[in-house]
């Protein structure tokens, strides 16, 4: 019988080896995948039971965790939620967080690699681990001014610091109150969330970085920059000046926004076209430059790629393979050119910064619970996009545009503002998209600003950039310059 018994012993041993293997597989090799599964309530509850770090703007918390007496131990509260919602996002009890709550979840919940030693020490000392605080670049004065200036319009205002890339204000309207999505009641959260998803004006969308709009005339900055950098054109390069222009290989007709010619005379110049924001000379320039040169410049500015600030920014786009007619239309920001407000703010900021693009950034530093900095974000130069000369020329033309051209409503007494307006068509009968992008002071740029107004600002096809968007930029710039 002992021979058989030995065999049975081997079988028993194998059964236990199988159990050792299976527990190892589940607990070690699959544990990361299982922890990342969005049905795993343990992971979510864990992120609540730590005291999540605060999100700060100008040293004041805009999101913080307050101890409460329930399963989740802490309630996340958002102060001035409507104003800061595009920045903070929210963390619900039953789903994925958004905004900085999502982008820096590891740091905020204290589970990032940088906090590893804190985790170990809290394991030893028995203290509850705490998350790190996130100090944003947001300037509450700029944010509030941008919010007030945008008023009832649906759209976005972005203010950045050209020399550093720091984002000082990021407003998106319609907005929502993140507090309503942070309640500890799954059913209530679901109800609120569904209502917000279906609400008019898409309040959950952060327009500053995640909405793609036809840029219209503000895209002319990119095209003119490409022309000047090519070496074949100067601001004084001339183009025929008809009142109508037939697109190449097409029966479609393009007119200038006023309907007439671009200034008086048989010919017009690039400088005049930018000053008065004419379409026909830009179309002619676009055809001569070709789509490759425009795309190359657009991509240098950041088009056609996503980036992270660390919120993830939707890629603005310039078409991959336009025909001649589309190239002509793209030269004044129509056809399938699309841009986010942040992308246009980057174009202005780069021109303001002498042609060097600074990486846009929303976070200054990450602070450990004892307020020692865990990580500091220094300004990073992404690339030289334009020569200093081209940047200076562009600045001059944009300053003229505000002083005496199509962007006159952004004028501020005693300060030179550089700027460009845009009035983009959507469909034949759809309301326009209105833009302003620029910076001030023109001789020593401190602030770059981009304003986006959706749905024609309620005026359908009668509103235009200088009428509605430029005054908003003016109001915000005044507020921050007078600070």
């Amino acid at each position: 019988m002992n021979r058989e018994l030995k065999r049975v012993s081997v079988v028993v041993l194998l059964m236990f080896v199988a159990l050792l293997c299976s527990t190892s597989i589940v607990q070690v090799f699959q544990s990361d995948n299982l922890a990342a599964d969005d049905r795993n309530t343990r992971t979510l509850l864990d992120s609540y039971s730590v005291e999540r770090g605060a999100i700060l703007a100008g040293g004041q918390p805009i999101a913080q965790s307050v101890p409460v007496d329930d399963n989740y131990k802490f309630q996340r509260t958002y102060s001035n939620g409507l104003l800061y919602a595009p920045i903070t996002g929210f963390i619900p009890v039953n789903g994925a967080p958004t905004g900085l709550e999502q982008a820096l979840n590891g740091e905020l919940s204290g589970t990032s690699n940088a906090q590893f030693f804190d985790q170990v020490s809290s394991l030893v000392t028995g203290q509850d681990p705490k998350g790190a605080a996130v100090e944003t670049t947001i300037d509450p004065v700029a944010q509030q001014a941008a919010w007030d200036a945008l008023g009832e319009y649906s759209g976005s205002v972005v203010v950045t610091e050209p020399a550093t890339g720091r984002v000082l204000a990021m407003v998106s309207k319609e907005s929502y109150d993140p507090n309503t999505l942070a309640v500890h009641d799954s059913a209530a959260v679901n109800g609120t969330y569904d209502a917000l998803v279906n609400a008019p004006g898409d309040p959950l969308i952060n327009r500053a970085i995640n909405s793609l709009n036809p840029p219209g005339s503000v895209f002319k900055l990119v095209v003119v920059a490409a022309a000047l950098e090519s070496g074949q054109f100067t601001p004084e390069s001339t183009f025929p000046n008809p009142a109508t222009y037939q697109l190449p290989n097409s029966s479609s007709i393009v007119t200038n926004s006023g309907g007439g010619t671009c200034g008086s005379g048989e010919t017009t110049t690039i400088a005049t076209a930018l000053l008065l924001s004419c379409n026909i000379p830009m179309a002619e320039l676009g055809v001569q430059l070709g789509d490759d040169a425009i795309r190359e410049m657009a991509e240098k500015f950041g088009f056609n790629s996503e980036f992270s600030i660390p919120l993830s920014v939707t890629a603005s786009s310039y078409p991959a393979d336009p025909d001649a007619a589309q190239t002509a239309l793209s030269a004044f920001g129509q056809t399938s050119v699309r841009a986010t407000p942040l992308q246009m703010a980057l174009v202005s900021a780069t021109i303001a910064n002498g042609g060097i693009e600074m990486k846009p950034n929303l976070v200054d530093q990450i602070l450990a619970p004892d307020l020692s900095p865990l990580q500091t974000f220094e300004p990073v130069a992404a690339d030289r996009v334009l020569s200093a000369e081209t940047a200076a020329t562009m600045t001059q033309m944009m300053t003229n545009g505000v002083r005496e051209g199509a962007a006159s409503n952004a004028r501020i007494d005693g300060v030179d503002v550089a700027g460009k307006t845009g009035t983009a068509e959507n469909g034949d009968d759809d309301p326009y998209t209105l833009w302003f992008t620029g910076f001030a002071p023109a001789d020593d740029p401190q602030y770059a600003i981009t304003v986006l107004i959706e749905d024609g600002g309620g005026l359908g096809q009668t509103g235009y950039g200088n009428l509605l968007a430029a005054p908003i930029a003016k109001q915000v710039l005044e507020a921050v310059l007078n600070k």
């Binding site: 019988m1 002992n2 021979r3 058989e4 018994l5 049975v8 012993s9 079988v11 028993v12 041993l13 059964m15 236990f16 199988a18 159990l19 050792l20 299976s22 527990t23 190892s24 597989i25 589940v26 607990q27 070690v28 699959q30 544990s31 990361d32 995948n33 299982l34 922890a35 599964d37 049905r39 795993n40 309530t41 343990r42 992971t43 509850l45």
Partner: protein, 466 residues
Amino acid sequence: MPRQSNPAVDAREAAPKTGKIRRLHLPQKLRNLELFLLTIACGVNLGAVVLVQLGALGLIDTTLVLLGASLSGLVFALHFVLRIVAREADPFLLPIATLLNGIGIAMIYRIDIANNESGWASAAVRQTVWSGLAIACAIAVILIIRNHRVLFRYTYVAGFVGVALLLLPLVPGLGREVSGARVWIGFGDFATFQPGEIAKIALAVFFAGYLVRNRDSLSMVGRKFLGMRFPRLRDLGPILVVWALSMSVIIFQRDLGTALLYFGLFLVMLYLATARLSWVLMGMSLFLGGALIASQTLDYVNGRFTNWLDALNPAVYEADGGSYQLVQGLFGLAKGGLIGTGLGQGRPELTPVPQSDYIIASLGEELGLAGLFAILALYLLFVARGFRIGFAGQDDFGKLLGVGLSFVVALQCFIVIGGVTRVIPLTGLTTPFLAAGGSSLVANWIIVGLLLRLSDTVRNQPRLVV
């Protein structure tokens, strides 16, 4: 090894009676080792309960500590009974069972805390009381059964009792259905009991006795085919009866795990007794065939297979009776990782029935892979000590019974833990000693008592000197 012609001969009668002189000269080495290990086990158990309290409550509550202390007292009483009536019993069995039992109580207590239950509603209090009863049963077994060969006389009685217990839950008015399986009996609203747990002991006794009596006709006669000797048709009787019994458990009691347990036990004992692989192959194909047909025709069996193979599929996860529980258990285990969250620090209560079927996932979450390895090692050691009886035993009935009883513990571990960790489809069985459940505790402590008795007899027998 020469087979003993008459297993009913009491070998102890032949053993030299050295009486008091021997006691004086040979200190009870085994019992002293047992006492030492038992002290450690009780210390670990006390530590576990205190850690649970500190982890989950942040304070020390003496109620359960006192209950645990009285339980320890009972275990030490068992130890002293062994010093008198089974001096040569295996010194590892009792400490291992004590340790597993205690860790189980600590974890059940931890889940009570999470669910805010106390007093008689607390599963941990009930588990402690059941443990006391179970240990008392083990003491009774050791005191009453002074020689395991008494059981040989009651082979057929044991067989009848086993089958009767197994079928008891099907009696109208007595049977209770809990989460789909009809394996419980109850009187009124309380005192529910799972008779199948006790039935496994009765069946092991029956199988051992029956096989020792009949193995010659089972193993010697038959026709050779493909190099294996297959039995005569009329000798197929017993395997068909046990197979039919298992299948009826699957169909009428809706309990896959129990059926697998009994059938596996029977096959292993049959193989040990007859040394015929053909029996095992035939039995396995019968069972697999039956299970396959069941998986096609019975919804609940089919569901178990789907849950097993495709657990993380959202459709399976959300289905009624789907893999929700299995996946929650996996999440818990994953949360535990290598070293666990620490007792009282995890969230085992998120998994359904975390204190019984899923106690291993709860332990894995709070003690980690390290803790589970330790627990598996304890089980393996327990089973190995049982198998030693088989290797060293002189009489075939004792050998078969010892191995059968330890194998049933091993197989039960494999079915439950393998189900939780997706080695095999999940079936509802209790984890021996750990899981909440009185019947399981009583049955397993009776197994401890029988194994202790068997191991004592084995050592007291005159050795065959080679």
